[in-house]
């Protein structure tokens, strides 16, 4: 399984993937949209009672949850949503071919830089008129996340989930551990856990994206949200002393991480937390999916990554957000706008959350009474945040994060000594990628 909760495009060895690769290599990738553009006009979807929607929700739970939202929308507006579901990873790999061809009116996507990227390329339509109506449903941080680089709205968020340090309440109780709120407390706790024969921090980076989450936490705690955003946007330098400081702190924490991380999947790492062999685990709330036993899941809790610099405290929360965008030339623009308005309501979010309790609503107006304690806490953490980040591969150019950062971070966590040459190599590669 190439499960990527970060939404990162991890190509699986499927035949379609390989064919797409070969096609792309041969510039066929550009021919596909031209061909598909021929068949698009005059389809049945052009009538005003249907909105087409491209979906990456190929897993059973979200697929069903979304279907329920569309059914409710039909009841309310009389407009049918014609859903075109593609395999999650395939959808991401093909996104730019898809958007250049004849995309559906509305499509699933992720907030952050990767939303802005397609907006800037003219592959999405601005939806400021939709936001005039739904704006009141969302907190300031969500509004910021939904805007393109040009200041217009392009995105309707639906749900989100925070990254944090997860632990088992029973373990902390039994050993008398306290939740650390500062860096020194965190290091002291790690030392204590080691003495108690626990792996302090579970870690698996075989899929190459989990390490990015650790970097994000360390960077915005050390250098603040603004610097993090600048670094991700390719403006700040990776050879800056501020970045070096992040890696120094990471090198200090790394010995307390689970050994052999590069060969382990996040699922296996989560098992060491579930089986009480590890004390803590830094991941998104989707870690709960690995706790198949109900009692174990009830025992799961989390806390925000401790403060490093008091100037920034714990004001930033990493909360990847998923939602919807409007394609560049929707056939049923009025209907699509209505659908997006509906998706921006608390009702739509509640319908979703009822079926998929691993995430929380993006709207502050959604009813939280049915939330599990874990969801409530996640919700509080996000709504109390001053700034929200997405994830490295959503906050920066995906081609940079996948071809440069993933191997670089794997190299670092295996051998933290060569950090200077590593950082200058990242910076050199970044320059050419961001210049293209």
């Amino acid at each position: 399984m190439h499960l990527t909760p970060s939404g990162l495009s991890v190509p699986g060895p499927s035949r379609r993937t390989l064919l797409r690769g070969i096609g792309g290599a041969a510039a066929l990738g550009a021919g596909v949209p031209l061909l598909s553009a021929c068949g698009g006009s005059g389809g049945t979807a052009a009538d005003s009672k249907t909105v087409t929607l491209g979906s990456n929700a190929s897993d059973a739970v979200p697929k069903k949850a979304f279907a329920e939202i569309y059914a409710a929308f039909k009841k309310q507006s009389g407009i049918t949503v014609d859903v075109n579901t593609k395999d999650h990873n395939t959808f991401q790999e093909q996104i730019n071919t898809y958007l250049q061809g004849t995309p559906d009116d509305v499509f699933h996507w992720f907030a952050g830089y990767r939303m802005q990227f397609f907006a800037a390329k003219g592959l999405a339509s601005p939806i400021d008129d939709v936001w005039d109506k739904i704006g009141g449903n969302f907190p300031e941080a969500m509004k910021k996340l939904s805007k393109g680089a040009d200041g217009k709205f392009y995105f309707v968020p639906l749900y989100t989930y925070p990254w944090a340090l997860f632990y088992r309440k029973s373990v902390f109780q039994e050993k008398g551990y306290e939740v650390p709120t500062t860096w020194d407390q965190l290091i002291a706790l790690c030392k204590q856990m080691e003495k108690d024969k626990l792996v302090p921090i579970a870690f698996g980076d075989k899929d190459a994206w989990p390490a990015m989450g650790t970097f994000d936490q360390l960077n915005f705690r050390t250098n603040g949200y603004d610097f993090h955003v600048e670094l991700m946007a390719g403006k700040a330098s990776w050879t800056d002393a501020k970045v070096r400081k992040v890696f120094d702190l990471w090198a200090e924490l790394l010995p307390y991480h689970q050994e052999g991380a590069v060969g382990r999947t996040w699922q296996d790492a989560a098992q060491t937390l579930a089986s009480k062999k590890a004390g803590m685990y830094l991941l998104g709330t989707f870690v709960g999916q690995q706790f198949t036993n109900k009692d174990d899941l009830d025992d799961l809790d989390f806390f925000a990554f401790p403060e490093i610099d008091p100037a920034y405290g714990q004001d930033t929360v990493e909360a990847p957000t998923d939602g919807f965008m409007l394609s560049k030339a929707p056939k049923n623009k009025a209907g699509a706008a209505k659908l997006l308005e509906f998706l921006g309501t608390p009702e739509a979010e509640q319908i979703y959350l009822k079926a998929d309790p691993n995430v929380v609503a993006a709207s502050t107006k959604a009813d939280t009474s049915s939330y599990s304690p874990l969801q409530k806490k996640a919700y509080e953490m996000i709504s109390g945040a001053k700034s929200l980040t997405q994830f490295m591969d959503r906050d920066s150019r995906p081609d940079f994060t996948s071809t440069v950062m993933q191997p670089a971070l794997q190299k670092f966590i295996r051998d933290p000594k060569g950090v200077d040459s590593l950082l200058s190599s990242i910076e050199r590669q970044k320059k050419t990628i961001f210049a293209s």
Partner: protein, 329 residues
């Protein structure tokens, strides 16, 4: 069949002295006066049969290969043709000087070849020689050794992951190397993972080589063995001085097959750890740069061109040698 005119000129003109031809037989002959051998329909059929594959071949092989070469001198994110920018040799410069994965990838492709030639190939030869002796259960052994060849490398990757998984895999569970302190990370440790994968690759390659050599050995004239036995040569001497030299054509095939295997190595590694540090390969770098939501198609193409050049450097001398031999023959 009667309406199909025959192509042979002999049949086109009735042999002298043949009796009056029947009506159906007449139809089978080509119309008199016209020495046309093919009807219009035949030409159309032949044209389609030869033409369509040619068009497909040119479009899918030549045009794409040449397009890749052209794209290697550009940057392109795959969005719209107007975003293609000419950058000259920039991609190659970047690749040779700035990409920390490129030289390891070249090196690993070479190691892949050397390892396959040095370990599974002699092993395959050894197995073939043993099986050629008509020992008991020969068929069973043949099947067992050949079985991995039948499987897709992707499947082999999954199977061997179960063996190498550092936490729950067979090896670490057996030798207790999944405990903190004495932990062996077969998949993540760059000093180990390439060799771990090469064992899986060899497991398959040995069977492949065994079958090739077995076929070669079946072609060895039994009288040669007999003669060397009469001359008093022992088994090793017979093999070294008589059998092995006759296997020369097989050796050429083995060499070419192994080079191809080394250059196209991809699926096993991709399943195993996606070409993480220690297992980078050129084919994987190409894929990583081209697939995805915002791809570096120009850069990926540059890597593909390097792979193409290496392939040509290997294939051209082989083809030259082969054709030269044919001309002499």
């Amino acid at each position: 069949m009667t309406t199909t005119p025959t192509e042979s000129p002999e049949a086109a003109t009735p042999p002298p002295g043949s009796g009056p031809v029947t009506k159906t037989a007449q139809a089978a002959k080509v119309p008199q006066g016209h020495r046309r051998l093919l009807t219009r329909r035949d030409r159309l059929t032949l044209g389609l049969m030869a033409g369509l594959p040619t068009i497909l071949h040119v479009a899918l092989v030549w045009v794409t290969a040449l397009a890749s070469i052209a794209l290697a001198f550009t940057t392109w994110d795959g969005i719209g043709f107007d975003s293609i920018k000419w950058v000259g040799l920039e991609n190659f410069k970047e690749l040779f000087t700035n990409n920390p994965q490129f030289w390891p990838a070249v090196q690993h492709n070479i190691i892949w070849f050397v390892a396959l030639i040095l370990i599974p190939t002699p092993l395959g030869l050894f197995l073939a020689v043993q099986l050629d002796k008509q020992i008991r259960f020969s068929r069973v052994y043949q099947t067992a050794f050949f079985l991995p060849v039948v499987m897709s490398l992707a499947v082999i990757g999954f199977v061997w992951q179960l063996i190498y998984n550092p936490d729950t895999g067979l090896i670490n569970s057996l030798i207790g190397a999944n405990e903190p302190g004495h932990y062996i990370d077969w998949i993540g440790d760059p000093d180990l993972n390439l060799w771990a994968i090469l064992i899986a690759a060899s497991w398959r390659h040995a069977g492949y080589m065994m079958i090739l050599y077995l076929a070669g050995l079946k072609g060895v004239d039994p009288s040669l063995r007999e003669a060397s036995a009469l001359d008093g040569a022992n088994e090793w001497q017979t093999f070294k001085n008589v059998i092995f030299p006759t296997l020369r054509p097989t050796n050429t095939v083995v060499l070419v097959v192994t080079i191809i295997e080394a250059l196209r190595a991809f699926d096993l590694v991709f399943v195993f750890n996606k070409g993480a540090e220690g297992t980078e390969l050129l084919s994987i770098l190409v894929t990583n740069n081209i697939i995805g939501e915002s791809s570096r198609i120009g850069y990926g193409s540059a890597i593909a061109v390097v792979l193409l050049v290496i392939s040509l450097a290997v294939i051209i001398p082989y083809l030259i040698a082969t054709f030269r031999k044919e001309r002499q023959a």
